[in-house]
Every structure is written in structure tokens, then in C-alpha cells.
């Protein structure tokens, strides 16, 4: 079991959906997506020689978050201006939290939805929800996918594939 754990290296990013959180790990011949919910884990493996494409699409979540944080920032700033003394100080302190949150949000980069495509599925990678994260992850896995998918070689056998043979060349 320790050998199994040593095989996996974590990719940047954690994705959360309700009570479940998702992480991505690099394995020797596959990518591992782990979905954790309290005391239960689900694993999905994507073998490098099966990965056809990675599609990163910018979404509106970043704009919505910016709008909400800006609204609250302006709200508490206006309260600070409308009050004085201890109340003003308190409003300014609250505003500063929103300033920090907004700066962190902007520095983290654009929000994206990342999908991984194989022959049989288009799987969302929930942990890669920021563009810099997704790019860093892609830079790490690309050499492994390229090594597993040589340009001109015939397709290798996939694990858990019923006995097959390549189609005869014409």
C-alpha cells in the first residue's frame, strides 16, 4: 500500500462541489482523479495513451465572484463613510477583508472549466478551475501523454480491454 501511495504525485488545485472535493494525481501510466466525501473515496483513472484532448474553457464564475466581492466592499466602504468613530473603524476593518479577498481572487487568475476527453467520455476535472492551475497541470502531464502516444506508432494495448487486434492495414 505504501508503494501504491508513493506512485502518485499531486497536481495543483482542489475542486469542491457541495460536500465533495476533487483532486488530481499523476501516476506512472495514468492520471488519477480522486473524489472524496467524508470517509469515502472514488477513483477515476485516465490512461495516458487514451487521452485525446484537454479542453479548458473560460467561464463566468470569476466575474460573478468579482461582482459580489466588489458589491460588499463598496457596501461596507459606504457604511464606513456614513459613520464615524468606532463604527467607522469596524466598517473599515470589514472592508479590508473584502479588499484582501478581492485581490487574492484576481491574483489567482481567470476561472475556467477543464475537461478531459477520451474515446468514451468527456470528463470534467473539477480541481483545475483556475487558468494558471490548469496550465501548470497540463505542462506536467503533457510529456507523459506524449511519451505514451508516439505520433507514428501503432496504438498500444489498453488495460482492461477485451482481446483485440489492430485493424488490418489497407
Amino acid at each position: 500500500m505504501a508503494d501504491e501511495a508513493l506512485r502518485y504525485k499531486k497536481l495543483p488545485g482542489i475542486g469542491r462541489r457541495f460536500i465533495e472535493y476533487h483532486r488530481l494525481f499523476v501516476g506512472p501510466d495514468h492520471l488519477l482523479q480522486v473524489s472524496s466525501m467524508f470517509v469515502h473515496e472514488t477513483y477515476k483513472r485516465f490512461y495516458y495513451h487514451d487521452i485525446q484532448a484537454v479542453i479548458i474553457r473560460q467561464n463566468n464564475k470569476g466575474n460573478v465572484t468579482t461582482a459580489i466581492q466588489s458589491f460588499f466592499l463598496l457596501f461596507f466602504l459606504s457604511l464606513a463613510l456614513a459613520t464615524d468613530g468606532a463604527a467607522r473603524a469596524a466598517m473599515l476593518i470589514v472592508s479590508s477583508f473584502f479588499v484582501i479577498a478581492l485581490l487574492v481572487h484576481l491574483l489567482l487568475g481567470k476561472t475556467v472549466s477543464t475537461h478531459l476527453r477520451t474515446a468514451v467520455q468527456l470528463e470534467p476535472l473539477h480541481s483545475l478551475h483556475r487558468l494558471p492551475q490548469a496550465r501548470r497541470a497540463l505542462r506536467r502531464i503533457q510529456p507523459m501523454i506524449d511519451a505514451a502516444q508516439p505520433q507514428a506508432a501503432p496504438p498500444p494495448e489498453s488495460p482492461a480491454t477485451p482481446g483485440t487486434e489492430s485493424a488490418p492495414s489497407l
Partner: protein, 199 residues
């Protein structure tokens, strides 16, 4: 809709599901979906344009006395199962890396967890034991019941496989220690009360 999304060699936008032009996929340069205008970064790999393997149905027995498949007596055996030794035709042969297994062994390997590559979920007994040991401590009183349960769960978790990502079983040991200390605490308290009553 699913068939359009996964048409061989054709990528689709993940928002509007329209096919993307073949020239997309130039690495990290952004491009735009012609349907919804979404900004996309598409990275394509050779597998997208790879021909799908053709499945083999297995060869029929031509010579009497030839070894036949366990599941298809009319088909010629190609390989034995690495796990149970049954003869398999090319249709029944499931390749797992270097191994050839039958569908039955693959299923039992997956459900019993003996085929690690196929295991797709796990219950984390060490996390359960740790939660049962720690959370009731917030209220204290339930620990008279939960402490022994935590000890049992910790013992079970030491035998069960933990997450495939974890390198150690510290959770199990911590749960065991906390459970034992809590149980001993209650035992000491009960003994003290008994002595007090007797006196």
C-alpha cells in the same frame, strides 16, 4: 447528443456542444468557439485521430481435440487466465497490463480489491475510527459508548486497506490511543465512584 460529443476525431465545445474547427488545438494560445464565443484553450493529442481497435470474436475450433474456451466451447482457446487457469478465447481474454484474465476473475478482483488497478472506490475505515474517537469528545458523555466502538473500528481499520493515496496508518493508531485513553478514563471514574460508594 453524447454521440455528437464523442464523434471520433471531432472535438466539441464543452458549453454549447458544437463541433470545433480542426485548426484548434495549437497548445496554449487561446481561441474562440464559433458557436458560443467562449474562450478556449484546447490541447489535442494523437489519440484523437487514432483508429479504434477492432475487437476479435475468437476463432472456431477446426481440429477435434483442440483446447476450447471455458466460456465458449466452440471457440479455440488462445490464452489461460492468469488467476484461475481457465482457457480463454480471444473474445473472453481481458488484458490487464501483462496479465490475461477472464471476466469472472476481473469482476471478483474488482469487488474484493485484489486487482488494484480496477478498484474505483474505498471506504476509509481509519478516518471513520478517528472521527468516532474524536468527535464525541466535544460532548464527553457519549464517549462511554463511543470509546469502545472507536477501539474496535481502529482495530478493523488496521486490517482493511486505506486510501490508495495514503502512506501511513497514523489515523488508525491515533484513534486506537484516544479510544483506549477515553475508555480507561471512564473505567477509572467508575472504579472511583464504586470505591466512594462502598466507603
Amino acid at each position: 447528443m453524447v454521440e455528437a460529443m464523442l464523434e471520433p476525431g471531432v472535438l466539441t465545445c464543452t458549453k454549447c456542444r458544437l463541433p470545433l474547427p480542426p485548426e484548434l488545438g495549437a497548445g496554449f494560445a487561446p481561441s474562440h468557439c464559433p458557436g458560443c464565443g467562449s474562450t478556449l484553450w484546447v490541447h489535442v493529442f494523437p489519440a484523437l485521430h487514432r483508429r479504434l481497435d477492432v475487437g476479435h470474436r475468437g476463432e472456431s475450433i477446426l481440429v477435434e481435440g483442440e483446447a476450447s474456451c471455458f466460456y465458449h466451447p466452440e471457440k479455440r482457446a488462445a490464452v489461460p487466465c492468469s488467476r484461475c487457469g481457465r482457457f480463454l478465447c480471444q473474445l473472453c481474454d481481458v488484458t490487464l497490463g501483462e496479465e490475461h484474465v477472464c471476466a469472472s476473475c476481473m469482476h471478483s478482483g474488482q469487488t474484493k480489491g485484489t486487482l488494484g488497478k480496477l478498484q474505483n472506490q474505498r471506504l476509509l475505515w481509519d478516518s471513520i475510527a478517528l472521527a468516532v474517537a474524536i468527535i464525541p469528545l466535544l460532548i464527553v458523555t457519549p464517549t462511554i459508548i463511543t470509546a469502545p466502538i472507536a477501539i474496535v473500528l481502529a482495530a478493523i481499520s488496521l486490517k482493511k486497506p486505506t486510501s490508495i493515496l495514503r502512506r501511513s496508518r497514523w489515523r488508525s493508531w491515533v484513534a486506537l490511543v484516544i479510544g483506549l485513553l477515553t475508555a480507561l478514563g471512564w473505567l477509572a471514574g467508575l472504579i472511583y465512584l464504586l470505591i466512594d460508594l462502598v466507603q
